[in-house]
Structures are given as structure tokens and as C-alpha cells.
């Protein structure tokens, strides 16, 4: 292996990216070539310095990084949640309303037996008023109120 070829591959060798056979040949060359060995030592030292510098920067930026990771974690957690839950929560009223409607249709009388009264008039003429078994009175409290025929049985009411 020549020096030029070796120097091109030193960094890959340091990073462990070379195939074992090539790495073996490179180590043989480095063992017998001082300039190339020196080059390797230089690159290793630069790498160590860079790692040290990165560590210092990471330590300086620890709070920001921590916050960033918290946010990333929250997003990941959010995406892990089942999509059906919020959908059900949002549209829960639809099946609930359907159930109420069905129950209403089943149990509420549809023949108008509970419909409110809406009288249009209280104008009533009473042509005759007779009873064989009770006293009957006609009560008229004015045009705004309905007329009442009151049956008094045995003087009870």
C-alpha cells in the first residue's frame, strides 16, 4: 500500500469504516511508515479535541436540549395515542343523540296525547244545561278565561 492511498483511508480506518482486510493492510503500512503514522496520530488527536469540544457545547446547552427533547417526546407520545379516542370524544354526541331519539320514538306517544293545548277561543255558548243526579253551575270569569261547567255531586264539591 502506498502513502497517498493510505492517507486517503486513514480517517475511515479511525472511524472503523474499512473492511477488515483493507484495515489490516493499512495497519501494516502505518507500522512501517512514520509520516503516515504521524498523520494518523494527528487525526486521532483532532477527533478527540472535536469530541471534547462537542461535549462542552452540549453541557452548555443542556437546558435547551432538555426542553427540545421534552417537546420531541411529547410529539412522539401524541402520535402514539390512538386516533379513535379524540374522534369518539368529538363525535360522541351523535350516537348519544341517536339513542335519545330512538328512545323518544319508542316511549313518547306519537298520537299527540301529550301535545300541549292551544285554544284559539274561549267563546262558548251553552244552550242547555241539565243533570239528573247533580247540581250544575256555569262559571264565566271573562273572555280571557275558559268557561267552566261545574258539576256538584251530593254537595261535595
Amino acid at each position: 500500500m502506498e502513502c497517498r492511498e493510505t492517507r486517503q483511508m486513514i480517517q475511515d480506518h479511525i472511524d472503523g469504516h474499512l473492511p477488515p482486510r483493507v484495515s489490516e493492510k493499512l495497519r501494516e503500512h502505518l507500522g512501517g511508515c512514520d509520516p503516515c503514522a504521524s498523520e494518523e496520530a494527528e487525526l486521532i488527536r483532532v477527533g478527540d479535541l472535536l469530541r471534547l469540544w462537542s461535549a462542552v457545547r452540549v453541557e452548555e446547552r443542556e437546558p435547551q436540549l432538555s426542553a427540545l427533547w421534552t417537546r420531541v417526546g411529547a410529539v412522539i407520545e401524541e402520535r402514539r395515542k390512538p386516533w379513535l379516542v379524540p374522534l369518539l370524544r368529538r363525535w360522541f354526541w351523535v350516537p348519544a343523540a341517536a339513542v335519545v331519539a330512538v328512545l323518544t320514538l319508542l316511549f313518547y306517544p306519537l298520537d299527540g296525547s301529550r301535545a300541549p293545548f292551544h285554544p284559539k277561543s274561549f267563546d262558548v255558548t251553552v244552550e242547555s244545561l241539565e243533570s239528573d243526579a247533580a247540581t250544575v253551575a256555569l262559571v264565566d270569569k271573562g273572555e280571557d278565561l275558559p268557561r267552566v261547567i261545574w258539576i256538584i255531586e251530593n254537595g261535595n264539591t
Binding site: D111, G112, S113, R114, A115, P116, F117, H118, P119, K120, S121, F122, D123, V124, T125, V126, E127, S128, L129, E130, S131, D132, A133, A134, V136, V139, K141, L145, P146, R147, V148, I149, W150, I151, I152, E153, N156, T157
Partner: protein, 154 residues
């Protein structure tokens, strides 16, 4: 090419004409038109303070006329009677009401009403109401209160 849209106001006379026919139909019903008799059977008492929701529309009228604290509708009976036809209404407490639609003029309805308790005739009357009119018949004791019949004819 499609048919051009009619001008916005061009349908107005037709709509007004149809509305007029409908209005005239509701206002002037034929004297021979069938009568829908609606009887609400209400039990009024001083037990509790119940006001049946079905009576909410006439709640103030009832409270203005009577001194009861509770009004509960126990039954609602409806019959549509042609002129001359008689309808029987079964009331609680072995009572019954018989109503016969009698010919009447104009927008009026005439009902011959008889209320019986078994064989006893409690009331015989002939009522003349406007269509949509209402009259009350009450006083019959029932349970712990009195029975009030809300009779309306449409």
C-alpha cells in the same frame, strides 16, 4: 342552452294565490266539516305541586280559575266526528262522555255532550264553540281531587 331563470318576483303572485287558498280553507271551514274533539282528562288536587307539562300552555288559565296546587293529565282522548256522528269517551271512575256533532253555522261547532256515571246522567248540555275553542267541565270527584275535562273542538 338552458331556460333562463325567472325573475325574482315573478313567482310572487302564484305563491300569494296558494297562500290565500290555504288561509281561506283554514278560516272558513265548511259547516259540514268533521269535528276533531279533543278531551284532556285532568286530575286537580291539593296533593303536591305538580303541573303536567302537557298543561303548561294553559297553566296560568287553570291557576287563575281554580285554587288547586296540582294538575295532572291522566288521559287524553280524541275522536273525529262527522256531523250527526256520536263518539263515546271512556273516562276514569266508571264515567263516560258521549259527544254528538250537531249541525252548526259558519265557523262554529256544536256538540251535544252527555256525561254519565254508570246509568246516572251527570250532565247533558249543548255547547257551541268556535273551531279551536275550549271549554272545561269539572267538579267530579276522583282519587284525592277533582276531575276536570278540557274539551276542545277543531
Amino acid at each position: 342552452m338552458g331556460t333562463p331563470d325567472p325573475k325574482p318576483g315573478s313567482r310572487l303572485p302564484a305563491i300569494a294565490f296558494i297562500a290565500l287558498i290555504l288561509f281561506a280553507h283554514t278560516v272558513v271551514a265548511s259547516p259540514d266539516a268533521p269535528v276533531a274533539v279533543d278531551v284532556g282528562v285532568v286530575v286537580a288536587s291539593n296533593e303536591g305541586t305538580t303541573m303536567d307539562p302537557a298543561l303548561s300552555s294553559i297553566q296560568k288559565k287553570l291557576q287563575s280559575m281554580f285554587n288547586y296546587t296540582s294538575y295532572r293529565m291522566v288521559d287524553r282522548l280524541k275522536r273525529t266526528l262527522s256531523v250527526g256522528e256520536t263518539g263515546d269517551f271512556v273516562l276514569p271512575g266508571n264515567r263516560s262522555m258521549r259527544a254528538t256533532s250537531v249541525p252548526a253555522k259558519g265557523n262554529k261547532v256544536k256538540l251535544a255532550v252527555q256525561i254519565m256515571e254508570g246509568d246516572r246522567n251527570l250532565l247533558s248540555t249543548t255547547l257551541g264553540l268556535k273551531r279551536g275553542g275550549m271549554v272545561l267541565v269539572g267538579g267530579l270527584s276522583y282519587q284525592k281531587g277533582v276531575m276536570i275535562l278540557i274539551i276542545s273542538a277543531e
